[in-house]
Structures are given as structure tokens and as C-alpha cells.
Amino acid sequence: MRVTLAMRPAARSFIPIEAEAIVPKNFLSGTDLSVWRGNRELRLDEVFSVFVEGSADRPEDVEVVISGDGTSRLKRVGEYMDGGKITVLGDIGMHCGNFMTGGTIEIHGNADGWLGREMAGGTILCRGDAADYCASGYRGGRKGMTGGTVEVFGRAGDFLAESIAGGTVIVHGDAGDMAGAEMHGGTLVVHADCSRPAANMKGGSCYVYGTAHGMLPTFKRIGTVQHEGRMLIHFIGDIANRGKGNLFVKDYRYLD
């Protein structure tokens, strides 16, 4: 089954739309769903032109395609998603793929903050850039992402994979400040530069194939290793947190 949601131009507004109802599973029982704009509840067809092709009886067979101008104001798309596919032909708003446990989200544009926050499984592909707190935990929480994969082909903002405890995060461009902060498990790979990686890490592995700026002094240099054809410098830390994580960087610079 393929559900196409084309955002109506009239539905564009400054106030974001909370669209946690847009999850493949929900479309098995029809399109009679509602979303919220501020304190107003709107029917799905007030915001989108809805087209359904084919039918399905399990979420894995559902693909939701979201298109149109203004999709960057849609929040919480794919929250608690457990199977199927969501394709966004454009940008997406904050909190896309929160708590996701299975299935695939593919974003052709950029993603706003908190992409794949606290996700436990499934795959998120972002063809553009991801904003801050991509694949991270939430305020005060001890565990962020626990499983699954997030791959960003552009750049990522600050606090990438903060509190990650499992799963894999790959960023092909630069990452911002505090990448992998409070990491206790899982794998974070940044193909270009980032700053202050893996601050206060307890466990897990963090790879920086570019330069780590503002490298923290609380990591102990072990030596060099060969990893996927690259020569990387291996650190263990964060010693300040009695951590035993592995940080691999191509190059690093301490603060002056």
C-alpha cells in the first residue's frame, strides 16, 4: 500500500503541525486520522491531499510519501513507528522518528532538530543536513538511542548522538560541537570534522575521519590503528567519567 500525503498550500502556517499520527501502522485502518496545529485538532485531509493506492494488512507493506511545501513544519512524523516506510520528498520538522523501533524513514531534504531521538531500531536516512540533537537522548534522560541506524549524508548539528547507548550513527559531512557527548555504547562515525567529540563518554566507539577540534584533554592516547583503510589515532576515555570508550580520530587539535 502506498499512501501519498501532499501538503495543501492552504495548510502552511507558522505554527508547526504535530503529526505523530503519521505512522505506517495507522494507515492500515484507513486515513481517518487527525493532527494538531497549536490547540486546534485538524483532520488529516484538511492538511494534506490524501491518495491511497493498493491495500495492506501489515505495517511492513505500507509506504507513506509526504510531499509539498511546508513539510518542514511537520513535527513528530514517524513517532513510535514499528515498521513500513516513510519517504519525505523535502525537509522535515523536529522530532521525526522519535522512539522508532522498526521500519525506514528516508528524508530527501534536511531534517530539523531531534531526528531519531531515543530510537531503538529501524533505519533513518537523511539525504540533506540534520540539525542539532540528531539521534540523541532527551533532557535529563540517561539513555538516548539504543538501537537501529541513522545515516546523514550532509552535515549534522551540535550534540549529535548525545547519550547514545546502542545502534549506529553515520554522518558523511561535518558534525557540530559535542558529538557523542555522554556516549555509553553504540557506534558514531563522522566522516569529516567535528569538535569536542565523545565528551564524558563511558563506553562505545566514536570515529572521526577528519579533524577533532577542541579535543578534550581527558582522553588517553593509546597508539594508532588501521581502520577501513585509514590510519587513526586511538584514545580511551573519558577518564573524567572513569569511562572505557574508544575514540578514534584522524587528526586532533587541543584548545590553545
Partner: protein, 566 residues
Amino acid sequence: MSELLIRNACVIDPLRGVNAETMDIAIRDGRIVEDVSGAAEVIDVHGALTLPGGIDSHTHICGTKVNFGRYMSPEDMRAGRTPRRGPMHSTSGYSVPTTYGNSYRYSAMGYTTLLEGAMAPLEARHTHEEFTYTPLQDTMANTLFDGNWGIMEAIRDGDTKRVAAIIAWTLTAVKGFGVKLTNPGGTEAWQWGKNVSCIRDPVPYFEVTPSEIIRSVVEANELLGLPHSVHLHCNNLGTPGNYTCTLGSLGLIPDLNKKRQTLYATHVQFHAYGGSGWKDFCSKSEPIARFVNMRPQIVIDMGQVMFGRTTTMTADGPMEFNLYRLHHDKWSNHDVELETGSGIIPVIYRRKNLVNSIMWAIGLELALLTKSPWQCLLTTDNPNGAPFVRYPEIVALLMSKKYRDAEFATVHPDTGGRVPLPAIERELDWYEIAVMTRAGQAKALGIQDLGKGHLGPGAEADIAVYPIRVDEVDPSVDYQKVIEAFGRTEYTIKRGRVVSRRGECLVDGSNATFWVRPKVSDAYDMGKDPDFIEKFDRYYTVRMRNYPVQKEYLNRNRCIETEAGI
């Protein structure tokens, strides 16, 4: 004039010696009366268990410390969220909920009066502001005097009357209710990076010992004729082997008051530990309970620990630092100028942890081994041992050996060798539970004469009707029914109005704050004492004239005037 008649109530009212008698309760204008006219609204409760409104004599629900617990644990706010509904505001939080969350959840459990366990005098305004937004319960605040410079200097000079005078001035200024000592001397020592190890250790600079502080403040408290006794959180909380220190502190207390106890020792579970370290940690509830059984001048509360997530918060700063070093999670620490301090950390009590399992057992043992229920009250030191929403489970554990055994089978396997709990057969009855959750509190706080904690004519019409029939349910077998009944009242009535019905709060309430003003002679009025004024203006960051809490910070309030002997 509003009238209400509750018909066919199965009343347990320990302060009047009523035990499960079916009667009608007449209410006029918020007070219980002999009878009402035929025009009164009638509620027929069909023999449901009816008790005076619950009173929590030690809970942390309002004030800077609680609010900092909210502030540093945003993850706690993700639990327990409820939307706005009728007159109910939206709420959130589990161990440190919003003020409305506290108020609604307490009300659903039949609680109508709460005592905030620790208010730093300098930060009293915050506590009173939050009281205003705890609309369904009357409130009062214990005021911290554990590290008060003026008091420690007066104790060093051996001047108990001056101690009393400073307490009187401060209570009046901050609109406090009782005197709280939290780790007396220890919080002040913490400002020097130290602690006191027990009651004979001197506090740095002031050179007074905790035992001197406890003894003088107890005497001063009686000189002032305060309704409540001194409320003591002993030194050395949470340390293995601390029970000797607790016994030493309790042993300092003479019997000075005929109407009530002379010392209220709070959350004694945290102070009843044996062993020399965490490896041989064990329960010492037996010596503590035996000691309390022999001394009518002491009342304790349980400070029960229940398994799960919660937040610990206390004015005992050094203890929280030690806890932080065990848990290695978040920690906050505060210093309150010339008065006290505080610390907060979130914790999780786990069944598979031996120390936590022993702590769980100790609280229950204290309640079961203390012969008189008037001397051991039911609390969790909310939220330190567990959030108060766990009270119904504690009631059921105390009433059912079967439930205790079932729970005991799930805790750490080595617990059996460290605690006497499995050997205790006692099961509390409904009457004893009524004592431990309302009547005992009213007596211990000295508020039964104000019409709290009983249902006699003239009493405030604070009533909890629980959906359970005591003649039909055997609590030792049907403990699940007990948990359900105590978790949600059929009716909670506050000052003659139904405020909560089956868990739904119906009105926005109009609570009152109780505070104390001891009348002292001019010679002991600290507001006119040149030495006190000079020290105040030299060391505090606020001017003395700006220190007292203005009336505008209090909602409805009731001032209790006492005749002081100075």
C-alpha cells in the same frame, strides 16, 4: 449556610476511640456538628470505610529544594502527565510532580493536610507560594534550625531562653509551623567541607555538639509551648552502623510534654542500619523499636523505601554528597547562608540490590515492631523513600503477612539473613492503620485541638470515604483490594465540600496554611535585640526588615498563638 449529611458511614476515629461503628456524620459550614436540618444534602456511603482526612506529617512537596528536584530532573516530568480536565489543571511528574500533581494525587488518596518537612527560613516565600497552588490540602511547614548561627552561638553561651527567642522570632517571620533539625550541626560543618560523625562531634568554629543542639532546641521548643515537638532528622543518615547514633540521640530526650511526644524522629528507616560497611550492612530495627517502645516521649515515622525510581532531597548536604559518590549520577548542592543547606540526587531502589532490599525491610519492621501505632507513623519521607502514591501498597504490606512474604520472595536472596522481617507475624488492623495515617499525625503535630484528625463535633469536616467494607474484606488475604481502596477514595471531603470523587478532583479548593506565633516578652523580642540586629545585617545578604514573609505570600491562613514562658 451549607449542610451535608453522610449516611451509613463505617467510622474509625481513633482520637475518639470509635472503631468501625456505623453512623451518620453531619456537617455545617465546614465543621462537623451534632445534627443538620432536613434541607441538608445527603450522601449515602452504604457502610464504606470512613476515616478522618489523611495527614502526612513528613513530606517534601513545596519549596526551593523540591523545585530544584523538578528543575534538575526534566526526565521525571515525562512521567505521570495528565491533561487539563474540568477544574483540574494539567499535571506532570512522578517523584517530584507539579504542585497540582501533588495536590490531586494526595486528594485522590484521601489526604487533606500536609506538613512540608523542611523549609529553609530564608527561602520561605517560595514554599508559601507553592502552598497557595496546592489547593486541596491544608499545609504547614517545618522550619530548619539545624545550622542557625544565632542559635549555635546562644547554645555555646548556654542561653536556652535566647535559643527560644530566636526560634520564636524566626517562626513568626517566616510563617513556619514547627522546628526541624536536619543532621544538627552537620549541615553547618558541611559548609566547611566536613560533617559530624555523631552527636559528640563539635561543629567547626561554633564548638557546639549535635547533642547540645538537640537538647537545647528541645527545651526551647517546650519553653515556647509550640503545638508540635522538635522534628529531628538524626545525624549520620544512611551510614552503616548509624543505629547507635540514633539511639544516642533518642536517649537525650526527657519527657517534657504531657499532651504529646517531646521528640518526633523522622524517617527512622534511614537511621536504623547495622554493620561496619556496605558488605555487612544489616537491619537494626529491633533495638530502635525496643527503645521507642520504652519511651512514650518519642514518636517516629517509617521513611519506608519502595522499589522504583525516585528523587532524594534533604537539607542534609553532606549525606547527599556521599550518595552522589555511590551513584555517580546527577547531584545538586545548596548553601543557605546562616541557616542550613541542601542536596538532591535522583535514585532508583532495586529489588536485586541487597542494600535496597534491606532498607525496604527495615521500614516495615519499624512499623511492625513498634507496639503502639501512635508512636510509628506511616511515611515514605516523600519522595526520598518513594513517592507518596505508594502509600496504599505500604498499608497493604503492613496489614498482610501473605503480601509481605510474596514480596519478600522477589527481593535479593541474601536479605533473609540480614533482617528480622520474615519472622514477624504481626498484621496491623484497620484501626491501627487509621492511627498511623491520620490520628497519630494529628496528635504528634498537636493539631487535634484545631479540629484535625478526628470526626467529633467541632472538628473540621475533612473526611475520606474509601470504597471498601471492613466487615467483608479480610486484608490479610485480599490485600489487592486494600491497595485499590486506599489508592482512590469514593469521596474526599475537605472543609465540608466534596473535593475529590473516585480520583476526579471537583473543585479548585481553598486551602489554609497553619503557622505559629509564640508570644514572648519584650526582653526576648529579637526584633528589638541590638546584638541580633547587628549580626543579621552584617552577615545576611538581605536586610532584616525585608526578611519576614509578608501576609500577601499566604493564601488563607490560620495563625496559632502560643503563650511562651519567656
